[in-house]
């Protein structure tokens, strides 16, 4: 016989709302990158307009999680799940913010000619978005092994961001008149690198929920 039916329904609702939040955050990144590719300022507007809804949902999810902690006093896997949801919620809100930041840069770039820059923003965006999607799939399936594969992708994103930094720094030295476009592209690259970091955090939270193991900062502490 199933027990704690109401509690289980509330946990399911928490999961569903977090997935709605994830969809909105992912969409903000997709639209801002599409705006970068096409210089479509209408897409930037859509990203700006979606932010209040993401923020509102973040508060609702936190409130639901807080209610469950206070009213149901969860233990073990349930406690770890709710703690993970609270953290993932904050990361998704930050992913949405990165979408807004990218859209702000794209809007600035719209005032300049659309030139070829030595940075593959679409590829970087594709990689960091794939990290987010895989971390969320791991969350949906409670799959810690899948979450582990996300952690490995973060190095690639970091390397691409570093390469963009060096290439764009050189370009600014060589062609100072391209400084505004280069700086905006550099910031977008940095924003996407941060999206990868948030995906890493989400993956670590999935591992914590499923296995009860805290793997945060493992690689950085292992390196000393």
């Amino acid at each position: 016989m199933a027990t704690r039916i109401k509690f289980q329904q509330n946990l399911d609702e928490l999961k569903e709302r977090l997935l709605v939040m994830a969809g909105m955050a992912e969409q903000a990144i997709q639209r801002s990158i599409e705006a970068y590719n096409t210089r479509d300022m209408n897409l930037c507007e859509l990203v700006f307009r979606s932010e209040p809804a993401i923020n509102r949902l973040e508060r609702e999810i936190d409130q639901l999680a807080l209610d469950l902690l206070a009213m149901e006093q969860p233990m073990a896997v349930d406690l770890r799940f709710i703690l993970s949801v609270i953290r993932i919620n904050a990361d998704l809100e930050r992913v949405g913010d990165q979408g807004v930041n990218i859209a702000v840069r794209v809007r600035e770039m719209g005032a300049f000619a659309n030139i070829d820059l030595p940075v593959d923003i679409p590829k970087l965006a594709s990689l960091s978005s794939a990290m987010i999607r895989r971390a969320l799939q791991a969350f949906i399936e409670a799959d810690a092994e899948m979450a582990e594969t996300v952690l490995k992708l973060d190095d690639q994103v970091d390397e691409m961001n570093d390469a963009a930094f060096h290439a764009l720094s050189s370009l600014i030295k060589e062609k100072p008149d391209l400084t505004p476009q280069s700086l905006n592209a550099l910031i977008i690259s940095r924003n996407l690198e941060r999206v990868g970091d948030h995906a890493t955090n989400i993956a670590e939270d999935v591992i914590f929920w499923v296995r009860g193991a805290d793997v945060r900062h493992y690689s950085s502490s292992a390196q000393g």
Partner: protein, 252 residues
Amino acid sequence: MGVGILVEHLNAWYGTTHTLQDINLHIPANHATALIGPSGCGKSTFVRCLNRMHETNPIARAEGTVKMGDVDIYKDASPVEIRRRVGMVFQRPNPFPTMSIYDNVISGLKLNGFRNRRVLDETVERSLKSAALWDEVKDDLKKKSGASLSGGQQQRMCIARAIAVDPEVLLMDEPASALDPVSTSKIEDLIFQLKSQYTIVIVTHNMQQAARVAENTGFFLNGKMVEFDSTHKIFTNPSDKRTEDYITGRFG
């Protein structure tokens, strides 16, 4: 000071019912250890084996080894001696209703033949202070009966009575389940303070209480001890699926 308890291959029966099956564990000295599990799982039988109360039931018997420090309580000591070394507090406060607060506290000592008035006075004060009840009752020690106190006060008086004989181990069988939240938190504070002097074993159905007061927790199910580990591990990431199902309320 408290002593550690080593339990090896402990089995207990009520008639033909095998209520405890091969229990093995080490309860460290001067720690609080919580025992959790559904009703009828054997946790109360287990604590009653630790002071040889189980065998007071004519159809009950126990086998195995229970060592308190170096003393094997089933071989090296009489039940009376063991119960002096092991105090017990029950679910419902059980004051002697016709006795004053003072006489309730020293009843165990009197039973053991202590008559020196100065020693008895000192013991009453020390025990009631340890049980965090002294300030509330010091003016009425001999005027009020133990039964006239509130439920929470009565339970603290019973704790004072248990520690008045200077035991090494305190067994508590759901000591706060009949109390309001304020009295409950007083008992929990008391457990926290008392474990520096005594080894405490507490049976509780309140999982949050186990998490709050005990360093180690054992989970009993159907007469067996499924898991024994640090309370932190049991309540955040238990090793056994049955423990997890129980503490998350998914039994049944």
